[in-house]
């Protein structure tokens, strides 16, 4: 295996609190993510993991606290800005265009890179043409990378679950993100599909140097591929550190593995 070089902190969340009316989803959460690392967020159901991701990419706006990405401090940001800053994500429930082919779905991930005007595109003229060829090349490289060649022209609705998840990853990668947020990329997969997905996540991290923030329930997967792990419980952070530290943290054992 190659050695990845883990760099400086690129994302820092400080004292984040998020409330929906009276419900406290997140309370005073702080942690950071370093460049090129694989950072996992774990916790029991309802711990606030997805909410945390949603705060990072601007879906939710926390009442308190700040998010610092690449040295830029923000409190309110919309999803579009997050994407422009190089944050891409996949969703817990598959959110693809099911009637479109795999290729077209991944092409939508290139949306932000398209600079040509509507008229140019409609006429398939000048810049539009050059851009589409360039974008298609990037998409084809991702198809090659994630081994999706055999389903390139297949409508997403006809694909098995594991492949759909891979298409989601492909679309996120098409935006050439600096940071990739993966919300339970392996949920509902069988062992073989999980292994494939793990390999693709590791390869992405290795090949493109993409920083990855990952929510996952499968402890085996988390402990195997993460560099550092944050543990949430009832909206509070109860652990943070390398997989081994977290595994031996008594609070974590109590909250997460408690019953066993």
């Amino acid at each position: 295996m190659s050695e990845r070089k883990i760099g400086d902190v690129i994302l820092k969340v400080d004292n984040i609190s998020l409330r929906f009316g009276g419900v406290k989803a997140l309370t005073d959460i702080s942690f950071d993510v370093r460049e090129h690392e694989i950072r996992s967020i774990i916790g029991p159901n309802g711990a606030g993991k997805s909410s945390m991701l949603n705060v990072i990419n601007g879906v939710y706006h926390p009442q308190e606290g700040t998010v610092t990405f690449h040295g830029e401090v923000r409190r309110d940001m919309d999803t579009h800005q997050a994407a422009e800053h190089g944050i891409a994500r996949t969703f817990q429930n598959i959110a693809l265009f099911s009637g479109m082919s795999v290729l077209d779905n991944i092409m939508t991930g290139r949306n932000l890179k398209i600079k040509s005007s509507f008229v140019e595109q409609a006429l398939w003229f000048g810049r539009a043409r050059r851009e589409e060829m360039e974008n298609r090349r990037v998409v084809e490289e991702i198809i090659d990378f994630l081994q999706l060649q055999h389903v390139r022209k297949t409508p997403v609705a006809r694909l098995p679950y594991g492949i759909k998840k891979r298409v989601e990853l492909a679309r996120a990668l098409a935006a050439e993100p600096k940071m990739l947020l993966l919300d339970e990329p392996m949920a509902g997969m069988n062992v073989e599909e999980k292994q494939d997905m793990c390999r693709f996540v590791l390869d992405t991290n290795d090949q493109f140097g993409t920083t990855i923030v990952l929510i996952e329930h499968d402890m085996g997967v988390v402990m195997d591929i993460s560099d550092r792990v944050v543990v949430l419980d009832y909206g509070k952070k109860i652990g943070d550190g390398a997989p081994d530290e977290v595994r031996n943290n008594p609070d974590v054992i109590k909250a997460y593995l408690g019953a066993h």
Binding site: S2, E140, E141, D144, F145, Q147, Q149, H150, K153, Q207
Partner: protein, 667 residues
């Protein structure tokens, strides 16, 4: 007069060989010939990043030259072996020619073997140089190198994932070619001189036999052998530079080497490499090959998928399909073989082609197929007829690694599903006393690598290669392969008895799953039959025949009548087959249990273990030869959970009618 012209001819040949490169009798010279005759025509294609990339003959020759010189710069010696491991990739095919340009031998290896399995071949062939596809193969070779440090140079085509590897001797093909270009500047003319030194009798490739019995053996084939086989086949099927093949079968297999390398270089046609193993069906449709090869199992899976998809089609389409497939069964083969058919049939078939067969062939990627071959295993007659009936010229051939897959071919218009055709041009075939097929010709192997004992055993003093297969010629001069020679026995009256051949005939009926025939040293042939529970169960349901399970169903009189019908059809076929007419089945029984590998009755590859079965069911076998009509037997069985138990049954025994041998056999 004759002597004079012959001398002139000889002198001309001497002049030619002085300019060596003009006589295209080795693969590198063939490559250079195409590069000068048709420099811009496509030689190789590969789909990469969704687009078909093309190498013209000129590009191919240039890359081969650079690769060869790169190898030379690393010290690759004449006569040395070069391992080639990976999926079908243009640059790996070029690797063959690069090794051969330097007088070396290409050794393609199965890409899905694990490192431990590769060690034997790497060791046996004393591999120092390997050209491989990607990281997967590099990892395996690096693992193998721990025990075999002789593997000095590993050259890879696809650099993905190899960025951080820094093992000594590991190099990308790009770097190898860059070295080659440097070497060219320092040694101008070296490449052409090396190609000029090559002789047609030199070993060009070494293919390892699968080694189901004992260790794999390296089959050494010369340029001459494969060029003879390739040009014979190309002439036989009128292959030209305009043809197209899709190469997707393992490069280490003799069939792929003949079709995708030897014939491509002889005829000058285009070889297309699929994007990945999963995209073969799509790529097939995009390329539309004119020349196609597949083992029976691929034709079978295509047909199965087709049937499943037809069941999901609309009612109208289903009706059209059913109707026109009936038309195809009736007239299809006659249309293909150019035999006369009634006008109404011609119209119906034309319409069927427009509405069903044409679109179907298009979907399968077989619209352009002019010649398709299958070999390697017995193909069921229904399967074979299906493809021929919709207008695909599917034929069978016979050959082996030792004969460059070139012994017999079925000529157009003379297709029989149970023969493998006539002796191919330039091949002598004869049947030995014991029924074994013997073959002589330029395509016979030079030797088994480092195995003079095995070579002496399989090639006799007269130059005949002993195939190990038993066969007979039918009245039209077509060869029928009936069995492995060692399985063939004799009836008491001396007539040949080929159990496998009869069993295969029985198994072609969908109601029969397994059959075991006995007859060696007996006066007649008897058979154990296993019914196919799904097929016969279906059949019984449609007849409101009630049964409780396998044993019950197997013992039904109606089922016996059904099987008797199958057996008698086989007897009728055997009656027309000369010496084999004595092998008609006199008595049979339907076994009360399914033969199972767990009970050691079948091998893991589902071949019947005849001797073991004869012992285990001795009372049944005795009853078959004694004239009893029913026999009680108790058998031990192993269940899937590992327990074992006894089952008991009274097995009925049925006679079958035998027909007199058809007269022409006596002639």
């Amino acid at each position: 007069m004759g002597g004079f012209s012959a001398r002139v001819f000889l002198e001309e040949r001497n002049v030619m060989s002085a300019q060596s490169a003009h006589v295209a009798d080795t693969f590198p010279r063939l490559l250079l010939k195409h590069a000068s005759v048709r420099p811009d025509a496509p030689a190789l294609r590969e789909k990469y990043l969704g687009i078909w990339q093309t190498w013209s003959w000129r590009d191919t020759a240039t890359e081969v030259r650079e690769m060869a010189l790169g190898l030379a710069s690393l010290g690759f010696a004449r006569g040395e072996n070069l391992a080639i491991i990976g999926d079908n990739r243009p640059r790996l095919y070029m690797g063959f020619a690069a090794a051969q340009s330097l007088g070396g031998v290409a050794v393609p290896m199965y890409q899905d073997a694990v490192a431990a399995e590769m060690t034997f071949v790497l060791d046996n062939a004393a591999i120092r140089f390997a050209i491989v596809e990607d990281q997967e193969q590099v990892d395996k070779l690096l693992e193998a190198r721990e025990s075999r440090p002789e593997i000095a140079h590993i050259i890879y085509d696809d650099p993905r994932g190899l960025r951080n590897y820094n093992a000594p001797g590991l190099m990308s093909l790009e770097d190898l070619r860059a070295r080659g270009r440097d070497y060219e500047r320092a040694h101008p003319g070296f490449f052409d001189a090396e190609v000029g030194k090559g002789k047609t009798g030199d070993v060009s490739v070494m293919l390892y036999t699968s080694g189901t019995t004992g260790k794999p053996k390296g089959v050494c084939q010369s340029h001459e052998a494969f060029i003879t086989a390739a040009s014979g086949g190309a002439e036989f099927d009128h292959l030209t530079a305009d043809d197209n093949v899709l190469s997707y079968l393992p490069m280490a297999w003799v069939g792929d080497h003949l079709f995708s390398y030897a014939q491509a270089l002889v005829a000058g046609f285009t070889v297309n490499c699929p994007e990945s193993a999963d995209t073969v069906m799509t790529d097939l449709r995009e390329i539309g090959p004119t020349y196609y090869f597949a083992p029976p199992r691929i034709f079978e899976s295509v047909l199965t998928n087709l049937s499943i998809r037809m069941e999901d089609a609309s009612k109208l389409k289903q009706r059209m399909y059913d109707y026109f497939m009936r038309v195809a069964r009736k007239y299809g083969s006659d249309v293909l073989d150019g035999r006369p058919i009634p006008f109404s049939g011609r119209v119906a078939y034309w319409l069927g082609n427009l509405l069903v067969y044409g679109p179907l062939k298009n979907t399968l990627g077989m619209s352009q197929v002019r010649v398709a071959y299958t070999a390697g295993a017995a193909i069921g007659p229904d399967l074979f007829r299906f493809y021929r009936s919709i207008g695909i010229n599917l034929k069978q051939l016979y050959g082996s690694t030792e004969t460059c897959a070139y012994v017999c071919l079925q000529p157009d218009g003379e297709i029989k599903f149970d023969s493998v055709g006539k002796a191919a041009p330039g091949v002598e075939v004869k049947i030995a006393e014991n029924g074994e097929v013997l073959v002589r010709g330029a395509m016979v192997l030079k030797e088994y690598y480092k195995r003079p004992d095995a070579t002496a055993e399989s090639i006799d003093a007269a130059g005949y290669f002993h195939t190990g297969d038993a066969g007979v010629f039918d009245n039209d001069g077509h060869l029928k392969i009936i069995d492995r020679a060692k399985d063939v026995g004799h009836l008491q009256n001396g007539a040949m008895f080929a159990p496998n051949y009869i069993e295969n005939k029985l198994k072609f009926f969908s109601h029969i799953k397994e059959a075991v025939c006995f007859g060696h040293d007996r006066d007649h042939v008897v058979a154990f039959i296993n019914i196919d529970l799904t097929a016969v169960g279906n059949w019984a349901e449609r007849r409101n025949l009630v049964y409780s399970g396998y044993i019950d169903l197997a013992g039904k009189d109606e089922v016996y009548a059904l099987i008797k019908d199958c057996v008698e059809k086989v007897n009728a076929e055997l009656a027309t087959e000369g010496e084999l007419s004595h092998s008609q089945i006199a008595r049979f029984l339907v076994l009360h249990k399914e033969l199972d590998p767990d009970d050691d009755e079948l091998t893991r590859t589902r071949k019947v273990r005849r001797g073991f079965i004869a012992e285990k069911y001795a009372p049944l076998l005795d009853a078959l030869y004694s004239g009893k009509t029913v026999q009680h037997i108790e058998t031990q069985v192993k269940f899937e959970d590992g327990r074992s138990g006894m089952i008991a049954a009274d097995v009925k025994i049925s006679d079958a009618n035998r027909l007199p041998a058809v007269a022409r056999a006596a002639a």
